[in-house]
């Protein structure tokens, strides 16, 4: 048995008030005198055994006893007693609340969402918070947000909890764990509570430094949703649109997929899926111009999650890929000439000029500053790496390369030799190079040979040897490298394939430089952003699925449709156990949290009840006697 503790033990001195109460009671006990004909009967009454029974004696001093009881109850309430939840009692309690898309799932039609259940549980925790306890609310989905610092202010906590909404993105635990770990460096954290439906990756890449109480919310019902939407160009005037529909693991689902082009329905298909199954549907869209596609899923059965029933895709206008290849790089121009669907600069155009290209291939260092979505620079070291790498004369061979990279896939680099030999300067490691944002795709004996760098929306590749002084153009892999490069550029320009935009963060857009834009989205989303010198508008959070309109500038409105596109969230699959690094696993528990239970409201109510009893007892009409 846990004896109750007291949060405000110092209030016990109020018990001294009992002394004046007793004193005043006896001093004030002046009975009103009442002359009656005879005491004979009343003396018999007083001598009656029933009057002298202990209960009657108790009743005679009931007023005093009730007042003592009332005072004791009020003092006990002021001492703020509580019942210990266990031997350990968390003074600082971080509470992690999953608010990813799956937390919007309903347990039944017109039921309550998982997040509502979690909020109710957390609300009980907050309401039972003791004065010396501090709680911090942390919401996590694909990233993490600290809702409140450690506080015992119930209003602050409840306000933050009430404002918490589902963010229609996937869920990851790592960021939340890292934030909690950071908090644990400022205050002693004995335990961490996590409320989730279990729809989180089972493997968590984190070394758990604190005990984790994994409170799993009951799973939701059946669900069907769209998990992928993309389109691939099919000929000059058409697109193949692929829609992937998946069912939750909890039951069979069915529905109708309808495809709308610019608001007009152009096709629909019915789909029936067993639990955990997925199906890919193909639609053909005949269009050369840019158009907006919308895919709607109408479930036939009760559907737990509504946010994955709609998806958007913007098809760009068809055009050839604009390529600039330095006239000096004949090998590249030759290889590019064999690829259809590109528009290459003329051989006599020695400079890229101010034109915007989708792909630029150059051996001129000054072209690094030019604007192109994808660039390949040959034969020189980028300025920011010159302190780390230098090119010397010698024979360089490829020791290893990233075979899975988009540029080098299906390319055999083992027998490529170069007579420019990049050297890492003394004490320079690959990590130093990566700190500048470069990724090494091919390693030479003395230094990196091929680098990749993504800067904002731009992608650049750097061959630190000149192809004219290497055997690469003579290898069979060279046209494959060029074809891969073109494919990468076409993907960047959305000319060959477009994918639906997932929620989270909207893709960056090149609009007008230094221009104010207003972004409006679903559920009243509004945001003002300003483009920089590079005309890039980026970092717009898209927490809800729907259409986001970017208004401003001289151009017309830009629309970006974002959808959930998360198979994990749609499947509503839950994990009963989270596995952390060092083979630490945490099992889910359905048992309620044994938090410290404050008792002062009980004492306060009892005190009020005692007051009412006292009032009633001494104000009621005397027990009358009806004469027969």
């Amino acid at each position: 048995m846990n004896w109750p503790g007291f949060s405000a033990l110092s209030s016990a001195w109020l018990f001294l008030l009992l002394l004046p109460l007793l004193l005043f009671y006896f001093l004030k006990l002046r009975r009103p005198r009442l002359e009656i004909p005879s005491l004979a009967l009343w003396r018999q009454v007083i001598n009656d055994n029933r009057v002298n029974s202990p209960f009657q004696k108790f009743k005679r001093n009931l007023l005093l006893l009730l007042q003592l009881l009332l005072l004791c109850l009020l003092i006990l309430a002021a001492m703020q007693p509580f019942i210990h939840s266990g031997p350990e009692r968390a003074e600082y309690l971080p509470v992690l609340i999953d608010c990813s898309a799956s937390m919007a799932a309903l347990d039944k039609p017109e039921g309550e969402s998982r997040l509502a259940v979690a909020k109710q549980n957390v609300r009980e925790l907050i309401e039972n918070l003791l004065p010396d306890q501090r709680m911090s609310l942390i919401a996590f989905h694909s990233t993490v947000k600290l809702l409140t610092d450690f506080t015992n202010n119930r209003r602050v906590l409840l306000d933050a909890l009430d404002k918490l909404e589902v963010v229609e993105v996937g869920s990851r635990l790592e960021d939340a764990m890292r934030l909690t770990q950071a908090l644990s460096r400022t205050v002693p954290i004995e335990s961490v509570l996590i409320f989730t439906d279990g729809n989180v990756p089972q493997q968590v890449d984190f070394e758990l430094p604190f005990p984790l109480n994994y409170q799993k919310i009951d799973p939701a019902g059946a669900n069907i949703g769209i998990t992928a939407l993309n389109a691939r160009r099919a000929g000059a005037d058409g697109w193949d649109v692929f829609v992937r529909v998946e069912s939750a693991v909890s039951g069979q689902s069915a529905g109708t997929i309808e495809l709308l082009q610019d608001g007009n329905s152009i096709g629909s298909q019915k789909v029936v899926l067993d639990q955990g199954e997925s199906e890919r549907l193909v639609f053909t869209v005949e269009t050369q111009a840019a158009s907006d596609l919308e895919v709607r899923l109408t479930p036939s059965d009760p559907d737990s999650l509504a946010s994955d029933n709609i998806a958007y895709l913007s098809l760009p206008q068809g055009r050839p890929l604009r390529v600039y290849a330095d006239p000096e790089l004949a090998s590249f121009r030759h290889a590019l000439g064999a690829i259809k669907g590109i528009e290459m600069n003329a051989e006599d155009q020695e400079s890229a000029g101010d034109a915007v290209y989708d792909l630029m291939i150059s051996d001129q260092p000054e072209d690094v500053a030019r604007e192109a979505s994808v660039s390949l620079f040959v034969g020189f070291v980028p300025d920011d790496l010159k302190s780390l790498v230098s090119i010397e004369s010698g024979t360089a061979t490829v020791v290893d390369w990233e075979r899975s990279s988009s540029l080098l896939q299906h390319v055999q680099m083992a027998d490529v030799q170069s007579f420019d030999e990049p050297h890492k300067n003394e004490n320079v490691t690959d990590g130093d190079i990566e700190q500048f944002g470069y990724e090494v795709l091919a390693f030479g004996r003395t230094g990196p040979l091929i680098l990749k760098r993504r800067l904002g929306a731009r992608l650049s590749y750097h061959l630190l040897f000149h192809t004219d002084r290497s055997t690469l153009p003579y290898r069979i892999g060279f046209p494959i490298v060029v074809a891969n490069l073109v494919q990468i550029a076409m993907q960047h320009a959305s000319l060959s394939e477009v994918r639906g935009v997932p929620t989270g963060v909207l893709p960056a857009r090149f609009l007008e430089a230094n221009q104010q834009y207003s972004v409006r989205g679903p559920a009243g989303f509004e945001l003002d952003v300003k483009s920089g010198d590079d005309a890039l508008v980026a970092g717009i959070a898209a927490e809800k699925a729907g259409i986001y309109e970017i208004q401003g500038g001289s151009d017309s409105n830009h629309k970006i449709g974002a959808a959930l596109f998360d198979a994990g969230e749609t499947s509503l699959q839950t994990s009963d156990e989270l596995e952390f690094r060092e083979e630490i696993s945490v099992s889910a528990t359905d048992s309620p949290i044994a938090n410290d239970k404050p008792l002062w409201p009980i004492f306060a109510v009892l005190g009020f009840g005692t007051l009412l009893v006292e009032w009633w007892f001494f104000q009621r009409r005397p027990g009358g006697y009806i004469r027969p």
């Binding site: 006990l29 009975r31 009103p32 005198r33 009442l34 002359e35 009656i36 004909p37 005879s38 005491l39 004979a40 009967l41 009343w42 003396r43 018999q44 009454v45 007083i46 009656d48 029933r50 009057v51 009657q56 009743k59 005679r60 001093n61 009931l62 001494f618 009621r620 009409r621 005397p622 027990g623 009358g624 006697y625 004469r627």
Partner: protein
């Protein structure tokens, strides 16, 4: 009490209408406790009234005038005719005039009843005497035995002049009254019977004195239906003794039990001695008490 004191009223104790109706009432004792002196009550023994009772053989010394000569002529044996006695009954009215009777018209009601019972006795040619007890150690104020309509005004004036107040308990008052009283008959005791002493003893004394007890307990509303609550200090009106009561409202049930128990005990003790007992409220209408309650109870006819 009728407050009309106009000259046409015979007594301020009650109106003439009540007086007229009372005059037609007679006491109805259970036992025939009479005196040797001639009166209106037929004795169980032989007497000189005109009511024939029995025959008996003539013995020497009998008054020859009582011999039934018709019987002698037929049977040639002398028989003496016997007649019933008509003896006098004594009506003693005892009024408890202690301080406890002064509350809420209890004493007024006692005086009214005493006047009514006395009038009934006077008009039935009984010997009526009235005793009033106030203070312990003093002699009771009393009206000597009187009889007949001529004593009516004397009776009324005596009763009207009685004052309440004192500490004479009823048990001792009976003792004091019997010290002066003589004669058998009816003793009408008008009291609240709220005494610390034993009520059995005075009833025994009355019975032993040849008096049939007509006990009337007069209680006031504050005694019958007290509305009390909280902590109180009761003060006895006679002795000025005090008694502290807590939560008086809770004790009312027990109080009523004791009051009814006293009432039942008095009724039982009176019945054992061939007497009668009646408890009334001082606020009950006098007409109802005299002409309804007493008649239904068989006290008067």
């Amino acid at each position: 009490m009728n407050e009309n004191t106009s000259t046409q009223q015979v007594t301020p104790l009650f109106g003439n209408d009540v007086l007229g109706r009372v005059e037609r009432l007679r006491l109805n004792p259970t036992r025939r406790l009479t005196n040797r002196s001639q009166g209106e009550h037929l004795s169980g023994k032989g007497g000189t009234s005109t009511e024939f009772s029995d025959y008996r053989d003539y013995v020497a010394g009998d008054d020859i005038r009582n011999v039934d000569w018709n019987i002698f002529a037929r049977l040639h044996r002398p028989f003496v005719k016997q007649y019933q006695y008509e003896e006098e009954m004594h009506v003693a009215v005892l009024i408890d005039a202690s301080s406890s009777m002064v509350f809420e018209k209890k004493f007024e009601r006692a005086k009214q009843l005493a006047a009514a019972f006395g009038l009934m006795g006077l008009l039935n040619l009984e010997r009526v005497s009235v005793y009033s007890c106030n203070h312990v150690g003093t002699r009771p104020v009393f009206l000597p035995p009187c009889s007949g309509r001529t004593s009516m005004n004397r009776l009324f004036r005596f009763i009207e002049s009685l004052e309440g107040g004192g500490d004479f308990p009823i048990d001792e008052a009976v003792d004091a009254v019997l010290g002066r009283h003589s004669g058998r008959g009816v003793a009408i005791v008008l009291s609240d019977f709220l005494t610390f002493g034993d009520v059995t003893r005075p009833l025994n004394q009355l019975f032993a004195a040849g008096l049939e007890t007509f006990a009337v307990q007069i209680l006031s509303p504050i005694e019958l239906e007290p509305e009390l609550t909280g902590d109180l200090r009761f003060v006895d009106s006679e002795t000025s003794h005090t008694l502290d009561i807590s939560s008086a409202g809770d004790l009312l049930g027990i109080y009523h039990e004791h009051r009814l128990s006293l009432e039942e005990e008095l009724r039982k003790q009176c019945r054992r001695r061939s007497g009668r007992f009646l408890s009334i409220n001082s606020e009950d209408p006098l007409d109802w008490v005299l002409f309804d309650l007493l008649r239904r109870q068989g006290w008067v006819r």
